[in-house]
Amino acid sequence: MQNEGRVERFNLGERMAHWNHAISFCLLFVTGAALIFRSWGGLLGPHGVKLAQDLHHVMAVPFTFFTLLILLVGTRKTFFAWLKEIFTWGNEDMKFLGRFPREFFGLKVELPEQGKFNAGEKVNSILTIAGSAVMAVTGWILLFRAHFSREVLAWAYPIHDAGALVMGAVIIGHVYLSLLHPRSREAINGMLWGTVTAKFAREHHARWYRQVRQNQATPRPGRKLTSMPAD
């Protein structure tokens, strides 16, 4: 069983939506920081800040609309399956969260079986959805400021700012786990090329992996295993 092959984790639509959101968020974060931190804004100078401001306003469009559009048009079925899973919480999930810090710091730990999305990924998903909603609503209020009262505008700033900083903290952890963490960095391949090793799927998402195997045994359209040589 050395060459178990690879398992499809994210289809093209899911990946496009993810990267649209990721790229627009990062640009929004960097340009937004120039608009609120004088140290960063001062470094760029007034023209740099102005440019950051323009870019910030442009990137609001893909961030607010394209991600959702890609998910709804490109991969509606998995989009809803994802939503359903991340809002379904069981004992295993709580156990996972309790034990995850040991996993995070590379200590020995037995993690409970997880579905396609583990409890940490569920938290990340929920924070991203909620955060994006808050950022989009407060952001568009600030863009269409003429239509809102001063009171609403005044509170939109700190809320927009708080949302950005929380999401920034979330993404630092998210990027680290997917790119650098030795036990979980295989996950990036799922988001880049669409597949992960069967070994990774089995060890990190056992419940999901069994389901994939089952579907593979009784093939259904739309669910397929790509058989690529394992690395």
Partner: protein, 237 residues
Amino acid sequence: MARFAMLVDLRRCVGCQACTVACQQQWGLEPEQRFTKVESVEYGQFPQVSRRFVTTQCMHCDNPPCQEVCPTGATYKRQDGIVVIDEDKCVGCQYCLTACPYGARTYNEKRSIVQKCSFCAVRLGAGQEPACVNTCLGQARIFGDLDDPKSAIAKASSQPGVLKVKGTAMLYIPPKGLARNALPADASFPGYVSAWKEVVQPVGKTLLGLTTGAVLLSLMMNTVSPGPKEESSDEEN
């Protein structure tokens, strides 16, 4: 150091708006842009009623919230107390416009910058009075240095009936019977600005720092004593 302030003797204000127009002319403002405004107030009980005027403008706060939120440092308080905007640095984000509790700031659509009363700092530099003071028909406005005991404003400010708007550089002599709340309120730092600058940003930065710290620690621990790595583990099969 000088401490510039303005006193408006509202008993002398006839509501002619000459100050508003002189100011607009001085600074080449758009018609809807007013650094100084004249509002009429009516009070009393029929038949004992009065109609008077209250002028408002930038109050040149001791602790200006507009300066606090400006991302480029375009808005700043000078040592002589005047709050000014460096137009070359202003990017037109309008945070200050929202932060100002007195609604004293205006947005110049054509130039995409925020503008407001600067006590005519440029004129002061040339030894002239602010345009509004210069033009006031009733001589209701007195401008000067509160720290100079010989100045007209220092003398005027010590007379009875003068109301200093606390935390600002504005003083008024209200007409008899005018309620305090018809005048600009004492300066109080707006809650949304302190929530933003004193809670959200430090807490947010701490959160970013903690996450980064945890990541670095994890990276270190995984490097120093690597656990069963995904790639090298052979325990299954």
